[in-house]
């Protein structure tokens, strides 16, 4: 059977970068969401952190200056101050550890909260066509642990993060169907054969994950994840209009262009630490298309769980040019890399200013994402937006980049169906406790991030 992507409009690669072509084509209202509101857990990671001095404070205007862009979603977010990955362990923090601890908490080899919820609610059966979707920008490709933020547990990454909007499109929306000219009895027979092949393979996966081989729980989990992808392939080929895939026709969209800017190619290939020069508007255009594609996948209920990243842990990039967003403009300098701004801000006033400008840029990126989720034209059955109804957790890897510590690590949460109080919460807790509170916000009891029926529990004060 010759199969091709249903939604790909060949020749669409000339679409200009940054045009809001995706949002124009977004379905309305929210698609795929069942009569009740589905549980979604979406994590957002950004590299380098926000030193506690510059995090929102209960006693000051939370949206001043570098946090200003978040004012656009002020009543739908909660700042969580005083969140630690490993309380009291200042000497063990670094980019790697913080990056892999984000959304897990104290145990670096545990499962991230998106997977804890997914597994608890759905087991190994994927509720949507893509079980977990991970994407974003990450130039530090030499340090894979810095851009993977969704973990099944036992140190197994959930999925390969995708760094290209076009590939993200393929992953989310790519489907298969017979060429129209081939829809005849011969093609139908070949389809039956194709299905029989996958069915036979599925039976082997089921056999292997029985007790037939004595596999460990972790090994069975790995096989189950593979099987999930086999089933996804099966759905994409044979059941694109089925209840899991959702009607793709209403989600039709043009494939985002391949980005052939030399700078981006270099960013995607670089392995050195010198950082790549990049004009800030190009970088943010790229980001916006990534956000649009990712959010459309959520709106179409292609997925409900995953991670989106804006720059990896320990990011080194040299941005230059002026960027205007949310009524503010910042100028960027490529004197040195982003990492160095953070690393010297205590001792270097210029770097301090550059760091704050870059934090502002990160917040515009986060706000881009949150606003896209808050699209009032795309709502769930309860009338809430995806932002209203999802547990969205934003986090990073370090507390203070100058010290490389992992205390007071910036965290921000959505209100998760009104279960979490918006505003600023001054805490002094382990990240695990915050994530446990997230589980409670989703109505999940008896489960904790560290796998223990711990009394440490969650941070009740942030819950409504």
């Amino acid at each position: 059977m010759k199969l091709s992507r249903r939604t790909l409009l060949r020749g669409a690669g000339t679409v200009a970068i940054g045009l809001p072509f995706l949002s124009e084509m977004a379905p309305s209202p929210a698609y795929g969401a069942p009569g009740d509101v589905p549980a979604r857990v979406l994590t957002f990671f950004f590299g380098l952190g926000v030193p506690v001095d510059f995090q929102a404070d209960r006693y000051a205007a939370p949206f001043a200056d570098h946090l200003g862009p978040l004012a656009a979603v002020a009543d739908k977010i909660a700042f969580l101050r005083g969140v630690h990955y490993e309380k009291g362990s200042r000497t063990s923090g670094n980019h790697d550890r913080g990056s892999t601890t984000a959304f897990i908490g104290a145990r670096e080899s545990g499962a991230s909260i998106d997977q804890v919820v997914l597994q608890h609610l759905h087991g190994d059966v994927s509720p949507t066509s893509v079980r977990t979707l991970c994407a974003g920008t990450f130039s530090r490709q030499d340090q894979n642990r810095r851009h993977i933020h969704s973990w099944v547990g036992a140190g197994m990454p959930t999925a390969q993060p995708i760094e290209s909007p076009a590939q993200l499109f393929d992953r989310a929306f790519g489907t298969f169907m017979p060429e129209p000219a081939e829809v005849d009895e011969g093609a139908a027979r070949r389809a039956r054969y194709d299905r029989s092949v996958l069915d036979a393979a599925v039976r082997q996966y089921q056999h292997v994950t029985s007790d037939a081989f004595g596999l460990s729980a972790d090994s069975k989990r790995r096989i189950s994840l593979h099987l999930d992808k086999v089933r996804e392939l099966e759905r994409r080929i044979f059941d694109p209009d089925g209840p899991v895939m959702r009607p793709p026709s209403a989600c039709a969209m043009e494939r985002p262009p391949e980005y052939d800017h030399p700078e981006l190619v270099e960013i995607q290939r670089t392995v050195n630490n010198e950082g790549v020069r990049m004009e800030v508007n190009r970088w943010m255009d790229f980001w916006k298309v990534m956000v649009d594609t990712y959010v459309l996948a959520l709106q179409c209920d292609i997925t409900r769980f995953g991670n989106l990243q804006f720059q990896s842990g320990g990011e080194r990039i040299r941005l230059y040019g002026d960027y205007t967003a949310y009524g503010q403009t910042r100028s960027f300098s490529d004197d040195t890399t982003t990492h160095e701004y953070w690393h010297s801000w205590h001792r270097n006033d210029r770097y301090r200013a550059l760091m704050l400008d870059h934090i502002w840029l990160i917040m515009t990126a986060l706000t881009d994402y949150l606003r896209a989720l808050d699209d009032p034209e795309v709502t769930d059955a309860n009338g809430g937006t995806l932002l209203d109804n999802s547990l969205v957790l934003a986090g990073t890897e370090l507390g203070d980049g100058d010290a490389h510590d992992i205390e007071n690590v910036f965290h921000l949460s959505s209100t998760a169906c009104g279960a979490i109080r918006p505003g600023v919460h001054n805490l002094d807790v382990q990240a695990t406790q915050v994530y446990n509170a997230g589980l409670r916000a989703l109505g999940i009891d008896g489960v904790s991030m560290d796998g223990e029926p711990s009394e440490a529990g969650e941070v009740a004060s942030i819950l409504v």
Partner: protein, 572 residues
């Protein structure tokens, strides 16, 4: 069936570990030796349950030398490894003489090398894998005109006979009834459709090539009498095949699997297998992984692709030549190489269009693998080679050691040196700072010798700022480790790259590291060298290989006959 993509899989590009280049990353928490009793940060070592120190197995007492006199190997519980991209392609070639089209391979991801040497930890299986497996299987099956060679066509239940025959070929072992049953519905469907049986045969092949028994290193771990048990014969044969050939067991090996019950039988099998051309393939794949040579693809933008290819071929030819009768440590020496006109350029030499052996005995700047342009360029951090990058490469991949995380008090920015200061001067400043020097003293000095090479592997007398090169340095002392005080008890000075390589060649630390890399590579799990089991396995394999003669083949024999290779932890 496929999704075409214009870009290659992102993980391929993300999978490579680069070396850090600055004090701020290397850190300075070391205040003394970096012995085995100092656990590397778990995530520096890898990811997964195999990374939990000890995992319940006895660990070497802190600061004590390793005593293996009464050590019994205890295998850990492990995560099931998927076959790698290279193993997958070799299997298709070995089993069916088939190489996928470039188009079909486009979406098959490359492996993650994290943090050094590919292991099961960090492996993912995504839709891209599944899609590629499906498409390649379909292509392969379409090329098959008949399957008579795989079963006895004079059969009563030919469907079952076919599945059993082809399955044994693809899975390298007899199929269980439940497995056979899983493929039978294909025959029923094809018969109902009225198509010839060849259609069913092709469909079954496609299904087998997408099954976990083919795509994973699946072994029978059902509980036997004890928690620790010998591999069953088929699984042992399979392990041997992937160790020596990086591919599946062939009919001959499978036929003798049941007889692989003694050390001598295993040794004989390994030696027979090593003589097969597939052995060369596996050796090259290991060295590529060990030296992380795929980094060359994107290293040093001033080298064009054809020259890079020539540089790789030089190294491959050298590796094959040395390992034919030598050992892994012999790769570190050798006063010759193989050059053609392109590969000769970094040497400042001329050569013909074909590769020829070239004598380098008059050149003290070139000695063995580490000084070959492919290796130098792969670890040169772009066009700006640094002492830190090269030092960490030697520390991690030649000595299997690492440094702790940086302390928060380290001042990594302030310097009194001008920007055009030499790497040597910058290093001296680092070593002089208490905060940085504690760690940098363990790897910077090894890299001084490599200052004679620019990023492309060419010898230079001045660095990019015009500073004179000082190639002298020392191999730092290592004390208080599992080696006791007998290895690197004091700093050992060298005069130049040749002197350094001689020290590395004689180092027991490097010798055990080479074994650790091979064992890690073949077991696909990160070894826990803080445990007595893994540390003794490495030591005993190293010693046995040396006693056998010290060749690469001897090392394979020592690995294959080690309990670390032949035993498993069975299900609870």
């Amino acid at each position: 069936m496929r999704i075409s993509r214009q870009a290659r899989d992102p993980f391929h590009r993300t999978a490579r570990l680069a070396l850090v280049t600055a004090c701020l990353l290397a850190g300075a928490a070391c205040t003394g030796s970096i012995g085995d009793s100092t656990p590397r940060a778990e995530l520096e070592r890898g990811m997964g349950p195999g990374e939990t120190p000890g995992e319940g197995r006895p660990v070497i007492p802190a600061g004590e030398a390793l005593d293996c006199s009464e050590a019994a190997f205890e295998p850990p519980s492990t995560v099931l490894p998927r076959i790698t991209r290279g193993e997958y392609l070799n299997a298709l070639d070995d089993l069916f003489g088939y190489s996928p089209s470039e188009d079909a391979l486009e979406t098959l991801p490359f492996e993650l090398r994290a943090p050094s040497v590919t292991t099961a930890q960090g492996q993912t299986t995504d839709l891209f894998h599944v899609e590629s497996y499906a498409r390649i299987a379909e292509e392969l099956a379409a090329t098959m005109d008949g399957f008579d060679a795989y079963y006895d066509t004079d059969c009563a239940d030919c469907a079952r006979a076919f599945i059993e025959g082809l399955g044994a070929h693809v899975f390298s072992r007899p199929l269980r009834d439940a497995e056979v049953d899983g493929f039978l519905p294909i025959f029923t469907l094809v018969e109902d459709e009225g198509d010839p049986v060849l259609v069913a045969h092709r469909l079954v092949l496609r299904a087998m090539l997408q099954s976990p028994q083919f795509l994973y290193h699946l072994e029978d771990l059902r509980r036997r009498d004890d928690a620790i048990a010998d591999l069953n014969p088929d699984d042992l044969a399979r392990r041997l095949a992937f160790l020596v050939w990086q591919g599946p067991a062939d009919e001959t090996l499978r036929a003798e699997a049941a007889a692989l019950t003694s050390t001598s039988a295993i040794e004989a099998a390994v030696r027979r297998m090593a003589a097969d051309p597939r052995g060369e393939r596996a050796a090259l794949a290991f060295v590529e992984d060990w030296m992380d040579l795929t980094r060359l693809e994107r290293a040093v933008s001033t080298i064009n692709e054809r020259t890079k290819a020539a540089m790789r071929e030089e190294t491959d030819r050298f590796v094959v030549d040395v390992l034919e009768n030598g050992g892994l440590l012999d790769l570190l020496e050798g006063d010759y190489t193989f050059l053609n006109d392109r590969a000769a350029a970094p040497y400042g030499r001329s050569a013909g269009s074909g590769f020829e052996r070239v004598d380098l005995s008059d050149d003290r700047t070139r000695v063995g693998l580490l000084t070959q342009p492919a290796v130098i360029a792969a670890h040169s951090n772009g066009n700006r080679p640094s002492v830190v990058s090269r030092g960490l490469f030697l520390l991690r991949d030649l000595m299997c050691r690492d440094v702790p995380n940086p302390p928060v008090t380290a001042d990594t920015e302030s310097t009194e040196l001008p920007e055009d200061a030499s790497e040597r001067d910058k290093s001296a400043e680092r070593l002089g700072r208490g905060a940085c020097g504690g760690c940098h003293q363990h790897f910077d000095p090894m890299a001084y010798a490599f200052e004679i090479f620019d990023g492309a592997g060419q010898v230079r007398e001045l660095d990019e700022h015009g500073n004179a090169i000082i190639p002298e340095g020392w191999l730092p002392a290592i004390r208080g480790t599992r080696f006791g005080d007998g290895a690197h008890a004091i700093d050992q000075p060298y005069d130049d790259i040749t002197g350094l390589v001689e020290l590395l060649r004689e180092s027991p630390v490097v010798a055990e590291c080479a074994t650790e890399k091979v064992l890690t590579y073949t077991l696909r799990r990160r070894l826990q060298m803080e445990t007595i089991s893994d540390a003794c396995a490495v030591r005993q394999i190293t010693e046995r290989a040396a006693a056998l003669g010290g060749t690469y083949e001897d090392l394979l024999v020592a690995v294959a006959t080690s309990p670390a290779f032949t035993t498993v932890r069975t299900a609870e």
